[in-house]
């Protein structure tokens, strides 16, 4: 039963990946929609970032002094100026650990 639901979940997921690439031709989307689609990264990724920072494992809001907020702020500053993915991730993690462990 669980296997069956994994397969259904897999098919659903594959359809989310494939539909717009294989079944919808670009001409079906108007110029206005294309212009809006340029915002997709900025419109999608904060939905992963914000809850991962501000909501804890139990589904409640974190305190404002939580080390994750500090880590995220350091990562934003380092990322902005360094333009480097590794530096962004490491600076965020390390500053988070410093607050967490000291």
């Amino acid at each position: 039963m669980t296997w069956l639901s994994i397969i259904i979940a897999g098919i659903l997921t594959y359809f989310t990946r494939m539909t717009m690439i294989a079944l919808v031709s670009r001409d079906m989307l108007g110029n206005k929609i294309k212009a809006v689609l340029a915002y997709v990264p900025s419109a999608v990724f904060p939905a992963i970032i914000f809850p991962a920072i501000f909501i804890n494992d139990y589904g409640t809001f974190i305190e404002m002094n939580d080390p994750k907020i500090f880590g995220a702020m350091v990562a934003i500053v380092v990322g902005y100026f360094s333009r480097n993915v590794i530096a962004t991730i490491l600076s965020g993690l390390i500053s988070y650990w410093i607050i967490l462990f000291f």
């Binding site: 659903l12 997921t13 419109a43 992963i48 970032i49 965020g92 993690l93």
Partner: protein
Amino acid sequence: MFSKKQLLTRGMLDVAPHMLSVIPFGIICGAIGIELGFNPYLVYGMSIIIFGGASQIVFLQLISGGASALIAATSVGVINSRHLLYGAVLSEYLEKLSFIKKLLISYLVVDQGFAESNKFFKKNKKEKYLHYHLIGTGSTLWVCWQISTLAGIILGSFVPEELGLKFAIPLTFIAIIVQDLKKIDHVIVMLACGISSLLFFDAPFKSYIIISPIIALFVAAFILRFKK
């Protein structure tokens, strides 16, 4: 003009830094499945059949919490529906591929791969074999995801939980969009999405993950109208 091989390598290199967050996340994902008491083959099977980190964890948690198979599968579909938006963006660059190639390449579209390939595509629109970049990012993520979830299944959570390595996930995505903070319109769209995701966090089936991008895209449409 880049050759196919150059584009493939470039894709692999562009996405490589994100392994810093993908690998620990894969290990956590594999280990959680075993901790919750699932059959190891089943936990690993998900990495091939679903191939979507966060949705795999939610699936396992829902089933072990007693949710029905239907609810678990629906949640996976809803969480992964954001790929529809990635596909809509990528379709411009993959238009010329044959139908079969489109079907095959679709399996490899994931968050970080989409983000890095999309950045490359925007700067190199005229390249003939652009899709090789996407194959490079996607296959690198695929291989690392398989190895890391397997490692988590076999070795258990050998990454100490106290380290809070899950925090690497938002950091990876911060690295992806941080340069767009230069543009005020993008900042507004990001805030619209981020704030909505917190407001709708408790919506059923984890649907905040698609509701908030839709709200943010409406905000983007409004900004575009305002700009003119």
